[in-house]
Amino acid sequence: AFGKGKLTEQVIENIEEKLLAADISMEVASHIMDEVRVKAKGEEIDSMQLLAWMAESTRNLMPVTPVWTAKGKPHVILMIGVNGAGKTTTIGKLAHHYKAKGLSVMVAAGDTFRAGAIAQLEKWAQRVEVDIIKHQEGADAASVAFDAYAAAKARNLDILIIDTAGRLHNKGHLMEELRKLVRVLRKHDEVLPHECLLVVDGNTGQNAIQQGQGFNAIVKLDGLVVTKLDGTAKGGSIIPLCREFGIPVCWVGVGEDLDDLIRFDRDEYVQGLFL
């Protein structure tokens, strides 16, 4: 970075650019730099110290990722998010992950709208060897979710993961459809889903905040999945989301294959941001 020296305005500007390049918002970047300025107290600091303070400041904005525990039998996970974020692929990876842990998993083809959506989840279900509940294309997504829960319960399975169609959070009628799906699911049990995960594409810019706000208004978000971090994007746009709603990042997608899913580690992520 900059060796050893005082935190001049030029240094601050260079650091700010590095933060912006990671899709960290101007507001969060200022917050980080303000905290660092206070700690530096005008003294000379070296780059190692600077990075450590920046990492600490950033880490404090993100809730710690909880240890996963099943909250019911079946433990129901609802995957939501905008179009193309990586929901269906993440379900394949998650099903594989839980199965490898010795849990029994079922997936539900809740995207009854998009061309090839059911076929795509079916391919994943076959590959991972888990049960799948699906209706025909164009069927009511809420009824797929409802039937899937009944089936998972009847078969005494551990995990049910429900796929939903991609939808933009500013589309009122699509958000209503999601609200209805949750309402219908809750006819089985008011606490459902046990876990609602918002899937966000790691390349997303500041719109991530709007996505979080929009979806959280429909169903309380329990965690985030940030995908495509095997690319060059750093995913910094989710930090304000974590901070504002207190939502932890639970999973990170790092590729298109079965194993390309890692449990989020806040320290490792923050280190990666500033290297």
Binding site: G84, K123, W124, T204, G205
Partner: protein, 292 residues
């Protein structure tokens, strides 16, 4: 409202009948915030600000316009010029079959765009399109393209899981042998630093020589849009850009970053999931959106 914000700045610098270093700089600080919050790349923003600064200082303030209004006009016009000035579709002329190759990151909207563009060109230019399924990686990608083709009455050439380069060549032959004057190749999403997959695209391009190569990008892409577009362009020399999911509320600053770094024209925008949701790209509309 941007013009209100800028008016506020100029009110504080009273009696200004000309744009000076001071009032322009303060305005540009405000513009920087606007552009960055709209996801315009920070380097692109810096270059733009410097370019505008030169144009603005000393710019005549017409008696009917306030300095703030002049500034807004300079910024607006510079952005529109940067985005290509005016809307312009490609000509799609040349000896048939006219070939279009879709490329881009995972999930950007390529497959959907294949259907949209085929429908658009059949409707507006009486083309007889063929879709070619070169994505052999994504589960049910071929199913997806076939379903789209079926719903539009547009044939899809596929060989199931095979070699995308071979599939493109055979797709081209099939088009010629069956009277299709337009071929659109769908390809798998890929990372710009995935050398093997970028090589695959190079080989497809070498083999069928598509006249149009569209880089399909998501309107909500953040800072990395610059690096992704630059690499795709440096390696594959695309001829145009399609910006998708513009029916969302992302401001779409990625458009500016992509156009600025590659110089390639943004041709279309995707405005929904249905096959008719494709519009020609209008620079001035995009600028209003970016400026919020």
């Amino acid at each position: 409202q941007l013009s209100d914000k800028l008016e506020g700045i100029f009110k504080r610098l009273r009696g200004q009948s000309q744009l000076t270093e001071e009032n322009v700089s303060e305005t540009l600080r405000e513009i920087r915030v606007v552009l960055l919050s709209a996801d315009v790349n920070f380097k692109t923003t810096k270059e733009f600000i410097n370019a505008v600064k030169e144009k603005a200082i000393g710019a005549e303030v017409l008696t009917s316009l306030s300095p703030g209004q002049v500034m807004v006009k300079v910024i607006h016009d510079e952005l529109v010029a940067l985005l290509g000035g005016q809307a312009e579709e490609p000509a799609f002329q040349g000896s048939p079959p006219f070939q279009i190759l879709m490329m881009g990151l995972q999930g950007s909207g390529k497959t959907t765009a294949c259907g949209k563009l085929a429908l658009h060109l059949r409707n507006t230019r009486k083309k007889n399109p063929l879709l070619v399924a070169c994505d052999v990686y994504r589960p049910a990608a071929i199913d997806q393209l076939k379903t789209i083709g079926k719903s539009l009455g547009i044939p899809v050439y596929d060989e199931g899981l095979g070699d995308p380069v071979k599939i493109s060549e055979n797709g081209r032959k099939f088009a010629r042998d069956n009277g299709h004057d337009l071929v659109i190749y769908d390809t798998a999403g890929r990372l710009q630093m995935d050398d093997e997959l970028m090589r695959e695209l190079e080989r497809i391009i070498e083999s069928v020589k598509p006249q149009e190569k569209f880089f399909v990008a998501d309107a909500m892409t953040g800072q990395e849009a610059v690096n992704v577009a630059k690499t795709f362009n440096d390696r594959l020399d695309f001829t145009g850009v399609i910006l998708t999911k513009m029916d969302g509320d992302a401001r779409g600053g990625a458009a500016l970053s992509i156009k600025s770094i590659t110089g390639k024209p943004i041709r279309y925008v995707g405005t929904g999931e249905k096959p008719d949701a494709l519009e020609v790209f209008y620079p001035d509309r995009m600028v209003s959106r970016i400026l919020g």
